[in-house]
Symmetry: C2
Subunit: 222 residues, 2 copies
């Protein structure tokens, strides 16, 4: 390619990526429950599976949960945990929280449970001897690839974290050495909101980028 | 847009994203050290800053390290940790490891240290009461956005994990309540390799996607 063709291609590639990053939402209320074609699901999981991983350990797995009985059991557990969190809040925060939907487990097309196996990669994982969590970080990177791929495919994804890990492990028969790190509601949607739910409902507003950047050393922005 | 225009746009958006995900490499040897324009760096950090976060806590910060003195001190520490890991290996693995470069700290254009603040978001972080690590996961999601944005911009990125967190905290004056979770070497590159370094050097090969997918419940693939 000529230099200008390369520049155009790079510009279009960044514009598209930034658009997907911007459109990505944490979806709860917009799922329609239509089936997702198998080839679409495989592309999305393939994107997750191409994430970087410490020592190329690829410590993630994906449990795709379509079974409505399993999903209802998980939803009931999440409802209990929602109540637990609500009970911990002061009255003003509680009334804000009451309006916020925290999951779309049964309304989505499927759940995708992402797990992390610290045993994957054997005894000598390159890059993990000093930082044990480097393995866990890899599994989380896979989730962001999955999320962006789902968004680009026109699907919605919502990460549910109102649950206890032992409950989810028991529900899906996950071995003790494997940690379930996320239940992702994935599926067709009516639309994606342009403003995040928590901002729209007045729970919290966004921090400025400038506040997050430090030069050469930490400085307190306060 | 007509349905077919929408479909075309979705197809081009997924193709571009999948291409960036596929091209992304964990870079060590290909850095050229040229300066990165400030507006490019801000777009890349802006992509990181638009990551999802539990309860919209945005618990990450980015310390951009260009100072060569700081970088040399970190590189020397990493060299020691490399020796520590090498000494733990059986002879056959060690000779494979000896050929593998683990960092490009001084050759890259800059280091970006990503930190995680568990205190961010106050006492009641929505979605974190049952899973304390949900905050940490958010900071890791930001890293994957950063990595893909750097790749789309034609830059390289290499995550260094051969270090002890207390050393890096002291080096950058990071407060005790904040955890440095990654040193990312970021910068201009001669090219990106098409095969990951660890695969090319025979350290480890990739797992198949089919082995990572489970239906409705965990099953052992062995």
């Amino acid at each position: 390619m000529s230099p200008s063709a390369t520049a155009t291609s790079a510009a279009s590639s960044t514009a598209t990526l930034y658009d997907v990053i911007e459109r990505r939402r944490d979806v709860r209320a917009e799922f329609t429950g239509e089936p997702v074609p198998e080839e679409t699901l495989l592309r999305v999981l393939g994107a997750a599976h191409r994430a970087p991983s410490v020592g190329m350990s690829q410590p993630w797995d994906f449990v795709v949960v379509r079974d409505p009985v399993v999903r209802r059991a998980f939803r009931d557990h999440v409802a209990d945990e929602r109540d637990t969190f609500a009970a911990s809040l002061p009255p003003e925060r509680r009334s804000t929280f009451d309006k916020i939907k925290v999951e779309g487990i049964c309304e989505s097309s499927m759940g995708i449970v992402v797990t992390h196996s610290q045993d994957r990669g054997g005894q000598h994982v390159l890059g993990r001897h000093a930082i044990a969590d480097a393995g866990l970080f890899s599994s989380v990177l896979a989730i962001q690839n999955l999320w962006l791929a789902a968004t680009a495919e026109g699907l919605g994804l919502g990460w549910v974290s109102f649950y206890r890990e032992p409950f989810l492990r028991d529900l899906l028969g996950i071995p003790a050495a494997v940690r379930p790190i996320a239940w992702l509601c994935v599926g067709t949607v009516s639309h994606l909101e342009t403003v995040p739910d928590l901002e729209r409902h007045g729970w919290r507003s966004r921090r400025s980028l400038a506040d997050a950047i430090h030069d050469n050393a930490w400085r307190d922005h306060a």
